[in-house]
Symmetry: C2
Subunit: 203 residues, 2 copies
């Protein structure tokens, strides 16, 4: 088994944090997206979508998409549970993970990819107007998240889950995207300090 | 229990197809997105993100995000399985569902929302250049899907899954988005005819 990993990108980091929380070690192969290593014929044979990360199983099966890779390990190593326990909790974890993906990780990525000079070769064409349109959406969602975190230790309740992993990767990706968490969002700031203090955050 | 549903939008349709495949009936409340009914204070109290659909449980819990709603019902009614069986299959269904969401449903939605005059009040601001940039991405992904469907009856293998539901909703949404499936993609066309002939496709 081997994990195709990129140190700088938020999606591969989601998998690394997940594995660290589970205490699972997997050999990795680094693929440098900034030099276009994910677009070589060699990596395109691994993932025709040229996206990171990817997991290659011992039987040659390739699993792409961060959350699909995490679900593979969740099924093999159920403890501690990262995708909820029981119908309602499973649904609420899925809901918050997707909310954080669509409204935070994707919007932050749109700001970075369409506005940052370093992303010029990653996102073709860059559409600066679309990057700008995503900036207020990042903040609007963080306000909703702040209300959720006023009443919950973690994003989907009292347990650390995949939703926290997605949101942590997204919030840390705000730095290269040059968008700041507003000071008024004290619950988001408290949560971010908490999850950043976990050993897995260094992964 | 009640399901907040919108007849014209692709995401609520995913839940309706899923429920039809499972043989589950749920009372629905129609919310007309074209008249902005999803932006009223009443619906904003249901889903602060003002997106459709939403499921309200008898205890008052609200579950939003189509796939989160589907996972709630999958946990309650496991047969027939729509999210895979066993670690590898679960991961491959998740992979293909996400590939179809990110590279097909989202790209088709970007074309519709940023280019169609009827979407002017749904997507503010419309960025036509971003809509145009998504058109070739729709076709590029359909080409990858065509290769997968050359060797598989359904998108994630020999079983109809959530990935087929996502892709069917997305391909049918190409009509209002004014993007056509290229005639050369005969495997996509065969698959689309197959899944459209299922009773659930009318849902």
């Amino acid at each position: 088994m081997k994990l195709y990993d990129s140190r700088m990108a938020p999606n591969p980091r989601r998998v690394r944090i997940f594995l660290a929380e589970k205490g699972i070690e997997v050999p990795t192969v680094q693929v440098d997206m900034m030099t276009g290593a994910h677009r070589t014929p060699q990596y395109t044979a691994v993932n025709p979508l040229q996206r990171m990360p990817a997991l290659e199983l011992d039987d040659g099966t390739i699993i792409t998409e961060s959350v699909a890779i995490c679900r593979y390990f969740e099924a093999q190593h159920p403890e501690p549970p990262m995708f909820g326990v029981g119908a309602k909790d499973i649904a609420l974890v899925e809901m918050w993970n997707r909310r954080c993906e669509i409204n935070l990780l994707l919007t932050v990525a749109n700001v970075f990819r369409h506005l940052h000079p370093a992303a010029k070769t990653l996102e073709v064409p860059q559409v600066p107007e679309w990057g700008e349109a995503n900036k207020p959406r990042v903040i609007e969602f963080l306000e909703i998240l702040d209300r959720q975190l006023a009443e919950n230790k973690f994003i989907a309740g009292e347990r650390f889950t995949i939703a926290d992993i997605t949101a942590l990767s997204a919030v840390d990706f705000m730095k290269p995207a040059r968008v700041a968490v507003p000071d008024a969002l004290t619950n988001v700031k408290r949560w971010h300090a908490d999850v950043s203090a976990r050993a897995s955050a260094k992964a």
